[in-house]
Symmetry: C2
Subunit: 412 residues, 2 copies
């Protein structure tokens, strides 16, 4: 779809700045001419945007390319030392913190498991602040070198206000998380949720590269789908698009924590998979009551070893997942469906192969023929990578902002 | 979402041309300054595009507006006589043909019912050609005054190739409909399907005006959802997005003509509603076997009169429809969900009120709070209006196209 003008010239400038940087991040070194060709922006616009990014120290000139007779073309690349970013993936069962350089390469990581009782906003904030401190110390980075911190938390998020609007697994309602973090962290904080963070990570750096329309499934304790449509993240009118986990698969089926029955999440989220195991083999030792991570890991090991109970549970899970993925194929006609988050990562190819076998039983043939179904390909933790990408986007948007916007000097 | 540049400058020029015309169509008379403000395009760009449309005869100057001290501002409006458009809504049960002026006001209409046996491509083409002849004769319009014909047919359509890829209710596979029509009609023909046509009609002229994200439901023999996301029609990677009728609502439920079971369509399409009636009251006289139109009309009359069987069938239908609409609310977080097509038009407020009562039992509260659920508001037949809009869009895209594109002189 071609989008007609609707936004201000400043919006478009910010979007183009980000678009150009994305192309440079994707290549080791690239000329202005190549970027102009790839983005369909004019050479003058590209030169201008690159000039800005060079002045900020986010890019460096890295040499020349022979242009076959004409003047050699200057090459630019991301300056890894041009600034640092922190991305945080907060889930119900763990907190994962990464520190990245400006090329979005991980320099330091810390991951800690959360106990089931750790769910108050104050406890989570404490974990986030301590994680940030740990990775900065590991990498020897000072606060003024950090361009921003991107924090992903489960549930519905007001990303502009920095508020966790609703996190049902924690019983959170309207928690002003960014405000709480601001008093503890001296750098800009951006809040979003794992659906959107993993969608952006896959779109920029993973299975979505080069594709316009993708659904990135989060298969964890909670279940959802980050949507990138027409080449951009799709948020919906109140930033809550993607609640695929709360679409009905079995009308009147299993009760869901959202109040509905028969939601996708109740059949393919970690607690739903544990329920399948309970139904297939109630006393099987793979079931670790109260420990989702251990149970899914035991199932993954069993699946790899051909254990019949693990195979049966994977088959049942894949049956539900295939029908729910077919819904996305039929409704959205995407190029790529990505199976992401920790449950997908642990069950891996064994789950993927079973899903692929079953999805044709539900999806329309022609859109399915146009859809790849793959495991997540963003390296490392896709959610923290996506959250750091949001922080970078926010930083780029702040350049030249009117008073009140965040403008930070960047070290060369 | 702000979309970064990705398309050529020609794509953007065509999109902006269309965007400007859309704003002029929405107002009786408007100044270049107002359009620039509404579209966020520069005054120079708007003036340039309006100059083009004036030269084509699609717009006329209609006077001046006082600008409060400055020079009076020239006002432009669509020139109704600047060209004519034909829109055709082909359904399983009827063919509806409208002839529009350039302001998309209906000048002539013909609608004929199709017998159950009329389903060969040749028979349908005959009906379309004769309908076009009838409306042109009614309005006294010659072929060279018609800028284009937009044809909507059910099922999956390759709109660029002009091929009906798959129409399951007719057993059509890869029917080159545009080619067949070309030899019979001397004007450009654009092919699309009712999901997309009604979405565009509601976005431009109906319940979607002023909104960016909407789902326009087609409730007829077949069921689907036209999606406008981020202010533009969303087609998906192979133009088949919107097959909401073939998402699973009851896993393992009623068999569907698509091969899946438990699809939304089997519970809320006209044949599905007839099935509810059969289950509620097998011998009720409202059931006219083999005649969907008569049955739905009888149910609508019964519902208006408070007939308990009609009320029970409406309640059952609304229960399924509410759960399936909640899926769209949760997944897409739209601003507006429009109940469109002939089943919705006939059952009207009685169905709408029942759906609204039930949807909160399935949808997440916060996205639902942001969603209006309404009946279709595009005047007349939304599908033929949308099809004519596509023909207009195609005509505007052809202006200044390279050789091989369609460039037609337009009468002033």
């Amino acid at each position: 779809m071609v989008r007609a003008a609707k936004h201000t010239s400043r919006d478009i400038r910010v979007a183009n700045r980000f678009h150009v940087l994305r192309h440079i991040l994707a290549a080791p070194a690239v000329s202005r001419q190549e970027i102009a060709a790839e983005t369909a922006l004019s050479f003058a616009t590209v030169s201008n945007l690159i000039g800005e990014l060079l002045a900020l120290g986010l890019l460096v000139e890295v040499g020349f390319q022979d242009s076959g007779g004409g003047r050699p073309r200057g090459l630019v690349a991301v300056n890894p030392g041009g600034g640092f970013l922190i991305g945080i993936d907060t889930a119900e069962t763990y907190v994962h913190v990464d520190l990245f350089d400006a090329a979005l390469t991980v320099l330091a990581t810390v991951e800690e498991r959360l106990s089931g009782g750790e769910r108050c906003p104050e406890q989570i904030v404490e974990r986030l602040v301590s994680g940030v401190g740990t990775v900065m110390a590991q990498a020897g980075v000072a606060p003024d070198g950090v361009l921003g911190v991107g924090v992903s938390v489960p549930g519905q998020v007001d990303h502009e206000g920095g508020v966790s609007v609703f996190a049902p697994n924690w019983d959170w309602l309207d928690v002003p998380l960014r405000g709480m973090l601001r008093s503890r962290l001296p750098m800009p904080v951006h809040l979003d949720n794992p659906l959107r963070a993993s969608a952006v990570a896959e779109l920029w750096f993973g299975a979505g590269r080069g594709h316009d329309d993708l659904a990135v499934l989060t298969l964890g304790t909670g279940v959802g789908a980050g949507l990138a449509l027409g080449g951009s993240l799709y948020r919906g009118v109140t930033n809550s698009a993607g609640e695929w986990g709360h679409t009905t698969l079995v009308l009147g089926g299993r009760p869901c924590r959202c109040g509905n029955r028969g939601c996708v999440e109740t059949y393919v989220g970690a607690p739903g998979i544990m329920q399948h195991l309970r139904e297939v083999a109630p006393d099987n030792p793979m079931l670790c009551p109260g420990d989702q991570t251990a149970t899914i890991e035991a199932l993954a090991a069993g699946l790899a070893a051909g254990d019949p109970v693990a195979v049966a549970v994977a088959d049942v899970t894949a049956g539900y997942l295939a029908a729910a993925i077919a819904d996305l194929v039929n409704l959205l006609n995407p190029e790529v469906v990505v199976l992401g988050s920790w449950v997908a990562a642990k069950l891996g190819q064994g789950l993927l192969a079973r899903v692929r076998d079953r999805v044709a039983g539900h999806a329309l043939r022609r859109p399915l023929d146009a859809t790849q179904i793959v495991l997540g390909q963003a390296s490392g933790d896709a959610v923290s990578l996506g959250a750091a990408t949001f922080a970078l986007e926010r930083f780029l948007a702040s350049i030249g902002a009117p008073l009140g916007g965040v403008v930070r000097p960047v070290r060369r």
